[in-house]
């Protein structure tokens, strides 16, 4: 097992290097430069425009040959230096350190919301297959999957914040992380971000549960006199969760960099998603590379966790 993990870690480093290299060159071959956004503002007397652009590029180290920049970058990364974010005026790592928690709490709560409700409704729907409750759950899960989450977010704000005044129209970062007020502030964002996933999980859990309900060991468990609660909660669910775990983990990276960003924009949550997309628009290369790299590492980490979790969830699986 230890050897397996070691191998996976080495593999992850290889993948991360691939992602890093791809991002780095992607950014550099594009037509836009960090100086562009200054152009509008730099111009005073015509003849100095190019000189000033050169100054900006020199300040950001963009004047060196590409391969030197690349090697320098790798070198400083290896020394733990992630560089300076010129669009926010702070070290890249510190920027990420401050902002990851806003995304994290949003994603964590959304995932909890999605996983918990998804499993609950999915299992219920499967157990009550072909009943009215099942049809309703199925129908709503389709709606949940299909509704664009940015659209849902706007509608929620319009109804609950503006018209009904139940929630604030934006997320307040000054709330203590572990407080009821913070939880309340996250209700709408969590629903916005979590609904799609929740609905998707409902579908998967339902299908998986249905499949497992037909299995022989479920009959055995019933024959043992176990109440339905135990039969479904323990025997069916544990087996039904196996394929779902992969899907949830796979979904996670999509949520982090797709849904979470849109949700953060709509609700004004200064999470990593918003930071990274603003960095893209501001040509803040250091942040873009760092976020992509970290995103890749997190994905790889979750993949590893998933695989390890499997050995606990499913004792039949062993890695050498």
């Amino acid at each position: 097992m230890r050897e397996y993990i070691l191998r996976r870690v080495i593999y992850a480093i290889f993948i991360a290097w691939g992602v890093f290299t791809l991002t780095f060159f992607l950014l550099r071959i594009g037509p836009s430069s960090p100086a562009d956004k200054y152009l509008a503002t730099l111009v005073a007397k015509g003849e100095n425009v190019e000189e000033l652009i050169a100054a900006v590029e020199a300040r950001q180290g963009l004047d060196k040959p590409l391969y030197i920049q690349y090697l320098d970058y790798i070198n400083s990364l290896l020394h733990g230096d992630w560089g300076w974010s010129f669009s926010t005026s702070m070290p890249v790592m510190e920027l990420i350190k401050i902002h990851w928690k806003y995304s994290f709490q949003l994603i964590l709560l959304s995932m909890l919301f999605a996983v918990f409700l998804g499993i609950l409704i999915g299992v219920y729907s499967a157990v009550k297959q072909y009943t009215k409750a099942d049809y309703i759950a199925t129908f709503f899960s389709f709606i949940g999957i299909s509704i664009p989450n940015f659209w849902l977010g706007i509608m929620l704000i319009l109804v609950f914040s503006v018209k009904l005044g139940v929630f604030k129209t934006y997320y307040d970062t000054s709330l203590p992380m572990f407080s009821l007020a913070n939880l309340k502030a996250l209700v709408l964002p969590v629903i916005t971000l979590g609904t799609g996933s929740m609905a998707a999980y409902t579908r998967y859990v339902r299908a998986s549960t249905l499949e497992n309900l037909r299995k022989d060991f479920v009959r055995t468990a019933r024959a043992k006199g176990l109440p339905d609660r135990v039969v479904i909660g323990k025997h069916v669910l544990r087996n039904a969760m196996l394929p779902v775990v992969t899907i949830i983990m796979f979904d996670l990276s999509g949520v982090v960099f797709g849904g979470a960003y849109l949700t953060e924009i709509i609700f004004g949550i200064p999470g990593l998603g918003q930071i990274s997309f603003n960095a893209i628009f501001a040509d803040d290369y250091g942040v873009v590379v760092a976020v992509t790299l970290i995103g890749a590492l997190v994905t790889l980490f979750f993949n590893l966790i998933t695989d390890i979790a499997y050995t606990y969830l499913d004792p039949r699986i062993r890695y050498e």
């Binding site: 956004k37 730099l42 920027l95 005044g165 709509i266």
Partner: protein, 583 residues
């Protein structure tokens, strides 16, 4: 609202040169109803200013180029002067008005003696002189506005001289006359010499210096003190109890001042309506709704930025533009009233030149007002076109080759107002038989492929004005773009319209215009009446010459919760914001 309270009008003119600008001033003066009993200011509450214009880039202001950065710093440091709603100078850090020598070459500034940095060290003339000479003018420092402090001496660009006279007095000494230099020298703050000295020469250290990035040195220099800056979220300030202007009055009156960034205009409007923020800019379509709200007060202010329709006068534009009469014919076909009503919903003034109405240099007399009244006449326009050899055939104008004329209009994508203007221009020009194709381009693409130009075949680096023979990589005919002007120093617009102008994108070359712009920087122009005459002449000339079609000076609308007191609406609304308070 941003920047308006301070002397960054000029900076702003640059900041907004190509980008879009916030709000600056006011066309029509509203008076605060005096029937209400004036309330007594008390220190209380948190003022939350909502914006969706984007976050600042740095508080280490010497590197700043964006409005938000200057605005953020401005809350903690007043600067030398401010302007009131009549654009008169209001002293802030200065103890008395700036003295200009009779020959217009020496500018003397005297600081108050009760200004100090955090820690109690007095702010001295030496701090300013050091900031200029050792930082801004230094080779190692990529200060973006260096050229504002240079002058042409014997064909070379040289920095002006700065020197300290005594503890509170310092001087700028020029070798050439530039009456508007007056408005440049009050643009910036200073760094405390005793802190920044150790970073001198080390760009990386200066960039990353903690005390410069968290404004911990601002002492009693501004109404608020820096507390926290959560990127892309909020900039938090607290009341500065030591504020030098508050010694007698107790100002400022807000416990906290927060700039809150809201991702979208929709979120901004919703937050104001729900009372989650104190003030924000309101889009034209929403103004009526907000004006009707009980708890909201909306102020309508003008701006000094204007939208222009440029014709490509360079060799890869339609050759017809080189003919002034055709330019006039086109301008006659585009109704400024329709534009203002349809797109700005009335919240704009028609523009005929680069000087806005509130400017002291504004002259209305003799302006050619194309696009309104009698000079909005499509039939006449068609006649002129026909006279100049562009006949209509089957409702379409034919170009020199006998093909139906098709012009390409470009603008940067994402700016909804400019996109709408493109559509309107298309609609208007189709009435006189000109077909227009729309192209909305990302900013970088527009800049690099359409705006920057060079002489074909040469190895010039592309720039915005590489002379009359230069053309852009890709052809265009019409361009909708926002320009900004400094109502106090309109000569800055020479960058757009003079032969040597660095932003003369359109390729307009007129010696008469060049000489008028040069006249502003002469000894004669020290006389204000003379300067007004020159500007009047310039305005008239450009309104008739039409290097581009000046379209409109948009107004901006700012909404406040009704309990904010002390607001003086006008061109510089917010110049006295330290006196605002909650009822």
């Amino acid at each position: 609202m941003r920047l308006s309270r301070r002397r960054f009008l000029r900076l702003c003119a640059k900041a907004g040169a190509l980008a879009m600008v916030g709000s600056l001033g006011c066309l029509q003066k509203e008076t605060v109803p005096s029937t209400e009993k004036p309330a007594i200011p008390q220190v209380k509450g948190t003022f939350i200013e909502g914006t969706s214009a984007g976050d600042a880039e740095t508080l280490n202001w010497i590197f700043a180029a964006d409005q938000a950065s200057f605005s953020y710093v401005g809350y903690t440091m007043d600067g030398l002067i401010a302007y009131d709603n009549d654009l008169n100078i209001v002293l802030r850090w200065l103890a008395k008005p700036i003295e200009v020598s009779d020959d217009g070459l020496v500018y003397t500034l005297t600081l108050r003696d009760d200004l100090y940095w955090t820690g109690g060290k007095q702010v001295t003339a030496e701090d300013f002189v050091y900031t200029y000479k050792n930082l801004m003018f230094a080779d190692w420092m990529p200060f973006n506005y260096k050229d504002d402090y240079r002058e042409d001496v014997d064909g070379k660009r040289e920095f002006v001289e700065v020197r300290a006279v005594n503890k509170t007095t310092y001087q700028f000494i020029r070798q050439t006359v530039d009456p508007e230099f007056l408005y440049t020298i009050t643009d910036f703050w200073a760094y405390p010499k005793h802190i920044v000295k150790k970073y001198e020469g080390d760009l990386k250290a200066f960039t990353q210096a903690e005390e410069l990035n968290n404004l911990s040195y601002t002492g009693n220099l501004g109404p608020y003190r820096f507390v926290e800056w959560v990127r892309n979220d909020k900039f938090v300030l607290e009341r500065n109890p030591d504020y030098y202007l508050g010694k007698e009055t107790g100002a400022p009156y807000f416990e906290k001042y927060i700039v809150k960034i809201l991702g979208t205009p929709a979120a901004r409007h919703a937050a104001l309506e729900a009372g989650d923020i104190t003030s924000t800019v309101i889009d034209p379509l929403q103004v009526k709704k907000f004006k009707e709200m009980e708890h909201i007060k909306v102020y309508t202010n003008p701006t000094a930025s204007y939208t222009m329709l440029l014709w490509n006068l360079r060799n890869n534009g339609w050759e017809g533009f080189k003919n002034k009469r055709i330019r006039q014919a086109l301008a006659m076909s585009i109704s400024k009233d329709a534009l203002i009503q349809s797109i700005y919903l009335g919240f704009a003034d028609p523009a005929f030149s680069f000087i806005p109405k509130p400017s002291p240099w504004y002259v209305e007399e003799g302006l050619s007002m194309y696009g309104v009244g009698g000079l909005y006449d499509k039939e006449k326009a068609s006649e002129i076109l026909a006279e100049e050899g562009y006949e209509q055939e089957g409702g379409r104008i034919l170009d020199k080759n006998g093909e139906p004329l098709k012009l390409t209009i470009i603008t940067n994508s994402g700016n909804k107002v400019r996109e709408s203007i493109c559509f309107l221009v298309k609609q208007e020009l189709s009435d006189i038989g000109i077909d227009v194709e729309l192209k909305f381009l990302p900013w970088a693409t527009e800049l690099n492929q359409y705006l920057r130009n060079k002489v074909p075949g040469s190895d010039q680096p592309p720039a915005f004005n590489n002379g009359p023979d230069a053309v852009s990589e890709k052809p265009w005919d019409l361009l909708v773009i926002g320009f900004s002007t400094d109502p106090l120093a309109p000569s800055g617009s020479s960058t757009f319209f003079s032969s040597e102008g660095g932003l003369n994108i359109e390729g307009y070359f007129n010696p008469e215009v060049d000489s008028l712009f040069q006249k502003v920087k002469t000894r004669e122009a020290l006389d204000e009446a003379e300067r007004r005459r020159i500007y009047g002449e310039l305005s008239r000339l450009l309104s008739e010459e039409l290097p581009g079609d000046f379209l409109a000076f948009p107004a901006s609308n700012v909404g406040f919760q009704k309990n904010v007191m002390g607001i003086e609406p006008g061109i510089s609304m917010g110049y006295n914001y330290h006196e605002w308070f909650f009822a």
